[in-house]
């Protein structure tokens, strides 16, 4: 069991964090950094994935068209992992660690593996939950990269700036996720 803030406290503080980010640096985004992490690992095993290139806008180019796009922006961040966006996302994980450590209520072993709503429907087998979580991750990040952003970049930062793309993304996410979740987690007991 986790003690959580009330919705209004959570909403105020979360909104303030999005504001601080755009005020001091730029809007928050997360999903690009999964690509950057992949690229960092790929680059270790490849001799020619990322190259310095004086003619590219960002000074780097890649043999992969995605990593090469926007003047080699992703290629540059892969070559220099100590950049704002990547460190930001790594720090998010550490923020989660810190919050959990400072909390008196600890997660039960069952909840570490799967949420209750999941166990009620699919049982207590960890391997099954891990498989579904893995498949969910593949779809979410593929979709986020195709869409050019995720819950943070499109939905929160985007809608904060009143971006049309943020509204379109949020609409399409929930049009699918609501009926799928209703069907998937339907329990006879409910």
């Amino acid at each position: 069991m986790e003690k959580q803030w009330s919705w209004i406290k959570g909403g105020l503080v979360l909104g303030a964090v999005f504001l601080i980010a755009v005020w001091l640096v730029k809007p928050i985004g997360v999903s690009t950094q999964f690509v950057i992490f992949d690229g960092i690992v790929w680059n270790i095993f490849s001799d020619d994935l990322i190259k310095e290139n004086k003619n590219a806008k960002e000074g780097y180019s890649s043999t992969n068209p995605y990593l090469d796009k926007s003047g080699g922006k992703y290629a540059k961040n892969i070559a220099n992992p100590l950049n704002y966006s990547f460190i930001f996302v790594v720090s998010m994980l550490l923020g989660g660690v810190l919050s959990a450590l400072l909390q008196k209520l600890k997660l039960s072993e069952k909840n570490r593996v799967a949420p209750e709503v999941w166990r009620n429907r699919f049982g207590n087998e960890p391997a099954k939950r891990y498989l579904y979580a893995f498949i969910g991750g593949v779809l979410v990040l593929y979709g986020a990269r195709l869409a050019g952003g995720c819950t943070s970049g499109h939905m929160m930062s985007g809608m904060m700036q009143s971006s049309l793309s943020g509204y379109l993304f949020a609409l399409c996410v929930f049009i699918i996720s609501i009926p799928v979740a209703m069907f998937l987690y339907k329990t006879p007991r409910n």
Binding site: V13, M92, I135
Partner: protein, 189 residues
Amino acid sequence: MQIILAILIGGLFGFVLHRAGAANPQNIINMQRLKDFHLIKVILFAIGFSSLILFLLLSLGLIDEGHISVKTSYIGVLIGGAIFGLGFAIGGYCPGTCLVGAGGGRKDALFFILGGLLGALLFTLSYGFLKSTFLFDKIAGGKTTLADTGVSKFPALIDGIPSIVVAGIIAIAFMLIAWKLPTSYKGKT
């Protein structure tokens, strides 16, 4: 300096997502089942509140316009959003909350992250085939907003009315919906 800001703001963001219950897949799944409105109230209030202050600061010239970054609208946003929605229901995490959940000790979040790294790799490899297709056809001019940010490279759909009024009405509507939605949930997991 940038790196210090990344650690501070990123760490704070992770901490806040955890405390707000956003990294708990129970809350995410029950939001999608329309059984528990806690998280959607948090999200709607956060968007409304931050948007109101942002447009206020923009109209007063207190925010560096270079920090405003509007994403392009294109067909892939719609289809990518739908694929995301499917995975969001199956997995119960999103790209940010899986990191925070894993940091908070959730093992299923680690598997979601591994899947995410594979999904991102698959997109990186498929982009070369997809980039010249209809998926990247722009919608409504591309980097379009509803309310005018005052940045000329981002066209606004609603102009002629001061942007603080447009953004303000939307923001207040979001906060009102957040307030009025019932809290059917008492924080149990």
